[in-house]
Subunit: 349 residues, 2 copies
């Protein structure tokens, strides 16, 4: 019988954050691709676009005019999925099969830079620090509302990730309930913390820093790894070396290190296929529910869809939707590829 | 204070099959869309394409020649994600954070018709019955292998769903383990069955047939509903009226009714935006693990991505990946739209 080899044989891996398995088919990148190609825009954008509703001084669709902002700019989303309205639910079904409840929240947009054509990998570290500073302020401000228990900071980058405007920006959705994925993660972090009296991600990171097999990059305060259980081809996670629960616990030095690692991983991403690399990213941290959360360990996920080139992405479709997430390249292989990439942006070569 | 209204106010709904919540933002379809548009192919395809590796008589990339098949044709996937190989795992990590195990399986491709340009909504009911017959045979054949415990039957339709060939076909992935989504569903069906001594989906369907609010179509043996907890804009589920666990328990009469409802829902889908409607679909049924599964109730999911038109889809990205699934139109509204659509295919008008 053949000896099992993680780079050759189909296998399943366990994601301890979500308590879910994923399928890895490392031999499968060999198949030819005749399917859909994404458009890969190589046109260069102007620093200011008069038709962009996020550029400084421009008018948004609701008539508001953006200020002539010079670094970060935050405003309430004009098409919020959540609304800051209290509503009364009179008649709710009592059936366990028809459970529904009103949800209150606030959605914001965070412009990372006044420059229309500047994404995180091309920003100065000092300017990325200002973005982090804004995230901190928003986490505090939104978390202070008595009806807000969770603040989700995220970015959709690139048309393929449903982003409708290339102006560098992210979003914040703050709400009463813990969203499904966060609740699951919290449950699993909690269980581990209770059993081991140590953060799950601290133990995990220690192993990754020892083995270095899935380590992409580290500085004094953070590390980026391709998680052992990654589902997207080049999925990564930034984990803080010190165990703290939220973005506001970061020291000044850690903030600089976080800005630096954010720049490094996104530069590596851009360099991978020499394209502005699309992804959804977001921070997972303790909720703002006024409870102690020693189990939470600050981290940031990057879920990028590209698989083989700037135009061929991984589709999480039939089997993945009905069965389980599936990947075609081993996390160790992806980590090795990302690790070797230069930290100088390809446009500056 | 305002009275809560499901067609106006943001709310969360509970999915009892997955034990997860989803976010509904019914007011949100009002936002303008400036993002990515999918390509909408209106070119008509030939009945036979000499370059298609699925057409009868043509050669596949591994050199095999397809027979001159006349209805359904099944073969082993040339680029299987799972392999039918027994491998030996010598040294496995014992850490709960690095859990991995080899997975054995068989992947098949099922061509629905010899005609390159004939999708399910345009096929005769008699020919759809042959597809169902093939699914039954495959469920038995694959389930008979001692190392196969689950048989996932599914279809990816359309380039936007990662389908690389328009020739009408689906896939079957059979494997040792229960995939993540199936295992979750089973756990929740089981819990309900133990508590209530009746199938969760039987109770659910009874309510849906009474209220008719989310009912799209029914015949004597099956119903299609937009589930109360649907995440995709026009997501539907076909549920059998009689409580049985697997496709092979279907009577002859039920098989005809299943073929009829499969045709009806896919015709309605095509009619919605007058396009060959993309989706991933698949059957959830009892596993082939030789255990009794009174909790399982045969059903089929349709996960279609289109939201506003033939070219604008819903993106499940940042918030959805990090937080929870989100929809912009209420399930009741979607059901009403689908219900009103004709059952005659738009091309035949
Ligand atoms: O097997 P295919 O059609 O080549 O591939 C398609 O379906 C598979 C099963 O859902 C996915 O894993 C692939 O990402 C998708 O492109
Ligand atoms: O809010 P935006 O950028 O208009 O919309 C984008 O991000 C949202 C949050 O992930 C998603 O719900 C939308 O489907 C997506 O198109």
């Amino acid at each position: 019988m053949q000896q099992f080899n993680t780079n050759e044989h189909p296998h399943r891996r366990y994601n301890p954050l979500l308590d879910e398995w994923i399928l890895v088919s490392p031999h499968r990148t060999k198949r030819p691709w005749q399917g859909q190609k994404e458009t890969h825009s190589t046109e260069s954008l102007p620093e200011y676009d008069p038709t962009c509703y996020l550029c400084p001084g421009n008018e948004r669709s609701n008539g508001t005019k953006n200020p002539e902002y010079t670094d970060c700019y935050v405003f309430e989303n004009d098409f919020s999925a959540l609304l800051n309205e209290e509503v009364e639910q009179n008649s709710a079904s009592t059936s366990p099969l028809f459970k529904l409840k009103p949800e209150r929240g606030i959605n914001k947009v965070v412009c990372f830079s006044p420059k229309h054509n500047l994404t995180i990998p091309e920003m100065e570290i000092g300017d990325i620090e200002k973005v982090i500073q804004t995230w901190k302020e928003q986490y505090i401000e939104l978390g202070n509302y008595d009806f807000i228990n969770h603040v989700q900071i995220f970015e959709n980058k690139g048309a393929v990730m449903g982003c409708s405007n290339p102006h560098p920006h992210g979003q914040i959705w703050a709400q009463s309930s813990l969203p499904t994925q966060v609740e699951k993660t919290q449950k699993n972090l909690e269980k581990y913390y209770e059993q081991n009296k140590v953060s799950l991600l601290k133990d995990y990171l220690d192993e990754e820093l020892k083995s270095k097999e899935r380590l992409v990059y580290e500085n004094n305060h953070f590390a980026v790894v391709v998680p052992f259980w990654a589902t997207w081809p080049y999925e990564t996670m930034i984990i803080s070396k010190r165990h703290f629960g939220t973005i506001i616990a970061m020291t000044k030095e850690e903030t600089v290190a976080f800005a630096e690692i954010l720049k490094t991983i996104t530069v590596k991403y851009d360099n991978l296929f020499e394209t502005s690399f699309p992804y959804s990213s977001g921070i997972h941290q303790a909720p703002t529910d006024r409870l102690a959360h020693p189990e939470w360990h600050f981290h940031m996920h990057f879920y990028p869809p590209l698989l083989r080139s700037a135009t061929v992405k991984k589709f999480m479709v039939g089997y993945e939707m009905l069965g389980e997430a599936q990947r075609d390249i081993s996390p160790e292989k992806s980590a090795a590829v990302l690790r070797e990439l230069p930290t100088l942006h390809y446009k500056l070569k």
